[in-house]
Amino acid sequence: MEKWLRIYSMKLCTKEVTLFIVLGIIILLLPLLMKSPYQMHLIIMLCINIVLAMSFAMLFSTGLITIGAAAFWAIGAYASALLVMNLNLSFWLALPLASIITGVIAFMLGSIIVRAPGVAFVVQTMVINMIIVQALGQMEFLGGWGGILDIPRPNPIGSIKFVSKTNYYYLILFLLLLTVVVFYALYSSRIGRAWRSIRLNPRLAQTLGINLFRYRLLAFIVASMSAGLVGSFYAHYFGTIEPNTFSVFKSIYIQIYGILGGLNFYLMGPTIGALIMTLVPEFLRIGKEIEPILTGGILILLVIFLPGGILSLPERMGSLAAAFLSRIKKKVSLH
């Protein structure tokens, strides 16, 4: 299932190396291919969505389903905005700090709710999301429902200024890769194996000496910290943040990113799911007004026909092909 992950540890054959190098070049040179700032914006939002989707997937890898991921995205965004605007910190300090603050809050909340996994947990994450959105909206000093406006751009490093979208793109790309590297390291380690066993069979995992609560809490914290990290980025990229961006509905979208790609693929799945949900509506913009109808329809079709997500397609095709081949074989062997 995590075959893609194992590529790193296998001796890469020339074909795959070439593929990765070409992909890497395309990704790095992407800004040159983009014709408009709007397209760059899309790609940047895509990167953010990928990280958010991956944070959902990390929790899912322990068997926990959350519809509250957007809440931690919000915490990171608001924390970062406040740190920079009220405490005059540099963005580069606020970025990691926001992530850490999100982690601390995740630790506090997680310690309470991770104890009761299952449906209760799902409901509790939803409530946390709703409470946070409501609280952010009610608190006037946080800008109320209008949110915080005019959030400063990241401080320039040397001659690199954050004016055009290009530099933002490279920054979010860096953050995305950072997240991927950290997540990958975790998944391929003892911790990742423990998570997987908790998801597949919690009872059995316990008899192997695995502390369910601790590992679930760890996943919760790491996932939330990554959301907080891109939250900080988002605040200083977009310039304004308002509570409604971080609603339960966004969290559900994040869940859909994860489901569409394939929940068995913790890194590739979220990437593809986010890709589909972020870019497909853009292609459908031709029928501008009916776009959500089309997106909704495509979503439904994908869920029905590919319940394992897009990445289950090879398997599905494989089994279809195998069935087809065996029928042919039967016909041939009768001669």
């Binding site: 299932m1 540890s9 990958y184 390291a185 975790l186 391929s188 380690s189 003892r190 911790i191 194996r193 423990a194 997987r196 066993s197 597949l200 069979n201 009872r203 059995l204 316990q206 008899t207 192997l208 000496g209 695995i210 502390n211 369910l212």
Partner: protein, 260 residues
């Protein structure tokens, strides 16, 4: 001091008394069988020893240490391993991966070491993999190592469950009805395997319904009925014990013959 001491163990589930004032000892390197009609409290007993739920009263002392109140994973870390009644496995993983996961506790490597493929981490991984193969060969599943667990026939799944338990390097192994659902040949294989495990130095407690198998395999037997111990002793003493026979009269217990 006995390996495992159970003192006055009682468990109520609401109005139902599952286990009542149970006292028993388990000694080093023996195979103890626990039998009794359905509902006698055998699996409840295991679940308490395992740490899945606490008793209403009583103590369980493992190698001198009271383990009541410890959580299931802590008890596993102390060295009590368990196989389950139903096929409790990591169904989507291969046989190899199932057992490999069982070595969780013996893994020391830090996350970064593994990621960077530090030599120490690689060595540890190779070592663990070797030990997985040792267990699989010991239990006869080596050829099936790449099979996905849910594809295995029932008998092999039960054996795999025991392999996983062995991977935790327990000092005490609890086997919960290992023979259920097995036909003659599989039963025979399983009994031989359990004997092999004992010979390698393990202490085993077995809960079973298959009377003949228990008689043949166990060093000592304890009989439970309605949560209470009604007999204890060597197999031949239990066989003729009238309390035991009475407890089984009128139930659907069968004395299943096994291949000799």
């Amino acid at each position: 001091m006995a390996f495992l001491e159970v003192r006055n163990l009682t468990k109520h589930f609401g109005g139902l008394v599952a286990v009542s004032a149970l006292n028993l000892d388990i000694f080093d390197s023996e195979i103890l069988g626990i039998i009794g009609p359905n509902g006698a409290g055998k699996s409840t007993f295991f679940n308490i020893v395992n740490g899945f739920y606490p008793p209403t009263k009583g103590k369980v002392i493992f190698r001198g240490r009271d383990i009541i109140g410890l959580k299931a994973h802590q008890i596993a870390q102390l060295g009590i391993g368990r196989s389950f009644q139903a096929s409790t496995l990591f169904m989507n993983l291969t046989v190899f991966d199932n057992v490999f996961t069982g070595f969780y506790m013996s893994y020391k490597e830090a996350v970064w070491m593994s990621f960077l493929h530090a030599p120490y981490a690689l060595r540890e991984e190779r070592g663990a993999k070797r030990r997985v193969m040792e267990i699989l060969e010991f239990m006869g599943l080596a050829e099936l190592k790449d099979q996905i667990a849910y594809n295995l026939p029932h008998g092999h799944q039960r054996i795999l469950g025991i392999c996983i338990a062995l991977a935790t390097q327990p000092k005490l192994l609890l086997l919960d009805e290992p023979l259920t659902g097995m036909h003659l040949e599989e039963t025979s294989t399983m009994l031989n395997l359990i004997k092999k495990i004992q010979n390698s130095g393990m202490t085993i407690v077995l809960v079973e319904h298959n009377m003949e198998a228990v008689m043949r395999l166990c060093d000592r037997i304890i009989v439970l009925n309605h949560g209470k111990k009604i007999a204890e002793g060597l197999p031949k003493e239990i066989r003729d014990n009238k309390d035991v026979i009475e407890a089984y009269l009128g139930t659907e217990e069968e004395f299943e013959p096994i291949a000799s």
